[in-house]
């Protein structure tokens, strides 16, 4: 087990843990019934989705060029960014060219922009971003971070949201979720009307038509990308699909896996800026194609992780995620997907995450693109162990007697480890939790 995740799970308030468990189970239970209500054979649909994504990765060079050519023809301005810093620089540059300083940026929920820590850069540059997805809006008011890739405030309850809204003068305290949502609607409407720039992520980019596709339920994404004069979209280079026909498979499989819906309320298919005599829509559409470690992952054993369509099904089903929430992983991508993706994008900072799994295999079973997450976790563990001081942990963890001895010694070990090596940097040993096996025997 990973200490970062372990320690966090143990420190999580009981009520928070219960909320995360309940919410994840609710969505996980809806997944299969929904997919079965859409596809004649959900298993065949998963196989086809995995096959399509494999094809995309195998032909990415060609598909990216085809997409770029068509997107430019549609009037989209395409930018490329090797890493997070270059992406931030590009986006800030577009802001500076298109709006006066202190203009508000309407921000739609996007994992890619979380990944590159865009909000801090926009604040610093004088273009304050306003998160407009209800959950992300609460996260921003609370200076918190999202704990789930689909449901960012899965760890919060209505009372916490109400207190945040009251504190930030969004609206008076109420315990009714409908009233809270409508307070946010009212407050954020003014932001949409005032914003000159909108920033969003991308769910799919279609090579054959050069269109970007964004899915959502609230409508804040459409507002962020339609009302302001400039729309900036950020996407990982792996998000391509060959044709629009492929959306007929991917839209339902994404929605079914993510939220248990047959399809999301809105599927925004952005061709480009306003055309001819159109009276609304952005005047400029920019797209930033982001590498940020993805080409490295492509060349590694973890290549298949780039098939991921960010549905969060693996998070909902994972017993470790359910116990620790996304915050336990200490990275924007938590849960099984994060335990592979985070070290694949940045190994040094996240090499302990592959240990945050019981290898039960549930994640692979629910993955809509059949990513072999458990196999990858085992590979990454080997890599992590080979990389240094992990050898000590690995020996201890695979030998039951040593493990028991280690647990008994942990209060001492912590102190020694901290002084002796970089060990404690990554792993705070469990503090005197006693012998799990003995506890289990007594309990059983």
């Amino acid at each position: 087990m990973s200490s970062r995740v372990d320690t966090f799970a143990r420190s999580m308030p009981t009520a928070t843990a219960a909320r995360v468990r309940r919410a994840t189970r609710l969505v996980a239970d809806k997944r299969m019934p929904t997919l079965s209500s859409v596809f004649a054979d959900p298993e065949a649909a998963r196989t086809a989705a995995a096959d399509t994504k494999r094809y995309v990765l195998d032909n990415l060079h060609r598909l990216l060029l085809e997409f770029e050519r068509n997107a430019i023809a549609n009037g989209i301005q395409v930018h490329w960014a090797l890493d997070a810093a270059e992406a931030r620089e590009t986006i800030v540059g577009i802001c500076e060219r298109s709006a006066p300083k202190w203009s508000i940026v309407a921000k739609a929920k996007s994992m890619a922009t979380e990944e590159i820590h865009l909000n801090e850069a926009l604040f610093k540059a004088g273009y304050p971003p306003v998160e407009t997805d209800l959950g992300e809006f609460v996260i921003q008011l609370d200076h918190d971070t999202p704990s789930h890739i689909v449901a960012p405030i899965i760890h919060k309850d209505r009372f916490q949201v109400a207190r945040s809204f009251e504190r930030a003068h969004v609206g008076p305290y109420t315990q009714v979720p409908t009233e809270l949502a409508l307070q946010a609607r009212h407050y954020l409407r003014k932001q949409f009307q005032a914003s000159k720039i909108g920033v969003s992520g991308v769910n799919f980019a279609v090579a054959s038509t050069g269109r970007i596709v964004i899915v959502e339920n609230e409508g804040n994404n459409r507002l962020s990308t339609t009302a302001p004069d400039v729309h900036i979209a950020v996407m990982g280079i792996e998000k391509l699909l060959p044709t629009e026909d492929d959306l007929a498979l991917f839209l339902p499989i994404l929605a079914g896996s993510a939220t248990g819906q047959q399809i999301t309320t809105y599927v925004h298919m952005v061709t480009g800026p306003r055309q001819g005599a159109e009276t609304d829509g952005p005047r400029e559409v920019h797209l930033v194609l982001l590498d940020n470690g993805r080409t490295d992952a492509m060349a590694s054993e973890q290549r298949d992780i780039l098939k991921c369509i960010r549905c969060g099904a693996c998070q909902n089903i994972c017993p470790v995620y359910r116990a620790a929430s996304g915050h336990g992983y200490g990275h924007v991508y938590g849960g099984p997907i994060g335990a592979v993706l985070a070290p694949s994008l940045d190994f040094a900072a996240n090499r302990e995450l592959p240990f945050a799994s019981s290898l039960c295999g549930a994640c692979e079973e629910v993955c809509p693109v059949k990513i072999p997450i458990p196999d990858m976790l085992v590979d990454l563990r080997t890599k992590s162990t080979a990389a240094g001081s992990w050898a000590m942990f690995a020996t201890g963890a695979t030998n039951p007697n040593l493990w028991r001895a280690g647990l008994a010694l942990t209060p001492w070990l912590g102190g020694i480890g901290a002084k002796a090596s970089g060990w404690a940097e990554f792993r705070d040993p469990p503090k005197g939790q006693g012998d799990f096996r003995r506890w289990w025997r007594e309990r059983a």
């Binding site: 195998d58 209800l134 449901a151 061709t271 609304d280």
Partner: protein
């Protein structure tokens, strides 16, 4: 070397250019397509009504897309989409299987018409059976698939309609509405 060339040079495509098999076999249903469409809309919390009823009950002022103003029978009474109490639009087609509407941008239409006002009224004159059939009809312009009213479940998983987009979706299936089955690839 710029970022574009650097990224492209680092992507190693697989040697063999394999193809892939897509999958679009949806569940079958026994209802006639129009009834299935209505059933899905009801399940999503959207309403269906006749053109007359929709016009009677439409909150004012209403923004009406130019291309369907004649069909609607009333000109637009509000050009500022932020102030409109309702947005009335046409559709390219609707999908019976999922209860989805395909709405597209273009001259004489506003992209915000189906989004900013609290009520969206959509006129439907063509229904296709499944999502893949609709995908073949998506025009070159920026388009949107709309399936039910705007919703969120961010607070404790409680479903709330109308958080940002229209809280009420009203669908008018026009009298001369056609049902098309293009499964044969036609």
């Amino acid at each position: 070397m710029n970022a574009r060339d650097a990224i492209l040079s680092r992507i190693i495509d697989a040697k063999e250019d394999r193809t892939y098999q897509s999958y679009k076999a949806y569940t079958s249903y026994s209802l006639p397509p129009i009834e299935r469409f209505k059933e899905r809309l009801a399940a999503l919390g959207a309403r269906t009504m006749s053109l007359d009823e929709a016009r009677d009950r439409c909150p004012r002022p209403a923004y009406v897309d130019q291309d369907i103003a004649g069909l609607w029978g009333e000109p637009s009474t509000c050009d500022d989409i932020w102030q409109a109490a309702a947005g009335v639009t046409g559709t390219v087609c609707a999908v019976a299987h999922s209860g989805t509407l395909l709405v597209t941008a273009g001259t004489g239409r506003k992209r915000m018409a189906s989004l900013a006002p609290p009520v969206h009224i959509a006129l439907v004159d063509k229904i296709v059976l499944t999502l893949d059939q609709a995908m073949r009809l998506v025009p070159q312009q920026t388009s949107v698939l709309v399936t039910g009213p705007s919703r969120t479940a961010d607070i404790e998983g409680v479903l709330v309609n109308g958080v940002h987009g229209p809280g009420q979706l009203c669908v008018v299936i026009l009298e001369d509405c056609v049902v098309e089955d293009t499964a044969s690839g036609g």
